[in-house]
């Protein structure tokens, strides 16, 4: 089970930081920093800069993303912002707008 789960009906305005997996199904406005994986569910609306080991987006994310491992935008996912990650995938049906830096 994920370390932290933000349920669908929940809204957080502020910063989240930690060292464990974070799953978001609700709303977040602020900043998200962790050393583990971040999952943005299909119902989530995130307006935050995200820093983590990996990021999986099925919902909406607006903000810059920095991942030490990878970023995946799932089908139906939407991401607006710059991405800095070693690996980056965009599934068919996902939408994305921003710059990508894969540290070549």
């Amino acid at each position: 089970m994920a370390g932290t789960v933000i349920g669908e009906g929940l809204t957080i305005e502020g910063d989240i930081s930690g060292d464990e997996e974070i799953v978001i199904h609700g709303n977040l406005r602020g900043r998200l920093t962790t050393t583990d994986a971040v999952t943005v569910g299909g119902t989530a609306v995130v307006g935050a800069d995200i820093t983590g080991a990996s990021l999986s987006v099925a919902g909406q994310v607006t903000g810059d993303v920095t991942a030490s491992e990878r970023v995946d935008i799932q089908a139906g996912g939407k991401l607006v912002g710059d991405i800095k990650a070693a690996r980056f995938t965009i599934a068919d049906g996902a939408s994305f707008k921003g710059n990508v830096d894969m540290e070549v």
């Binding site: 932290t4 789960v5 349920g7 009906g9 957080i12 502020g14 910063d15 974070i22």
Partner: protein, 233 residues
């Protein structure tokens, strides 16, 4: 919708958390928490801010107010600095709390408190009543000294009975009338206890105002007590 949310032990949130559903806090929250569901704060959970929810179950540390629409339960090991308000409040042995605790929305308790408060005021008025009686007594004495004694005897029983019965509703109305009369004699109130003792004898004296015998006072009190017992029976 009402999906359970968890703030893990390794997570720190600095900001407000609000919304629907229940929330379990195992990490730290630096800000207010307001949800429609239950809130559980684990033993390692810490919150600095107000916590609103339905049922709050706290085993960790909270620095801020706790408001539960259903209940606030502090379990062993909980440390709370702040006010607590909920219809039900439970503080388990081993929990520490510092602040104001209020159990809201309990009609039974609220109703009970009101009558007791009313009854207490009833106590003092009776003392005043004799003073009030003085003013009417004087004219009566001039008019019909003989009839008075019977009236006097009759009057004392009802008054004590009201007080003993402590019926919330009956006493206030009856007391109300004497109050206006009392206002005039109020200045004597300044020396409450001694003057009353001196005046109370006046009742029995009514027929014979010439001498005020002190022994009569105990007689009056005895009679009142006896009547009280009867009324209670």
């Amino acid at each position: 919708m009402t999906e359970a949310s968890v703030i893990g032990a390794g997570t720190v949130i600095s900001g407000h958390v609000r919304g629907q559903g229940s929330l379990e806090i195992l990490g730290r929250v630096e800000g207010d928490v307001s949800v429609t569901g239950n809130v559980v704060i684990g033993a390692e959970g810490r919150v600095r801010g107000t916590v609103n929810g339905a049922e709050l179950r706290i085993a960790g540390q909270v620095q801020g107010d706790l408001r539960g629409s259903i209940a606030v339960l502090l379990e062993a090991g909980a440390r709370v600095v702040g006010d607590i308000s909920a219809p039900r409040v439970g503080i388990a042995p081993g929990a520490l709390a510092r602040g104001h605790v209020q159990t809201d929305g309990e009609p039974a308790l609220a109703a009970a408190r009101v009558p007791t408060a009313v009854v207490r005021p009833v106590g003092p008025p009776p003392r005043v009543a004799p003073l009030a009686a003085l003013s009417p007594v004087v004219p009566k004495l001039e008019a019909k000294p003989l009839v008075l004694p019977t009236k006097v005897e009759a009057k004392p029983p009802p008054a004590p009975a009201k007080f003993e019965v402590k019926a919330p509703l009956p006493p206030p109305p009856k007391l109300a009338p004497p109050k206006p009369e009392v206002r005039k004699p109020e200045p004597p109130r300044v020396a409450p206890a001694p003057p009353q003792a001196e005046f109370t004898p006046v009742r029995p004296l009514k027929p014979e105002p010439r001498r005020p015998p002190p022994p009569v006072v105990p007689v009056l009190s005895k009679g009142i007590k006896a009547k009280k017992k009867k009324s209670q029976d």
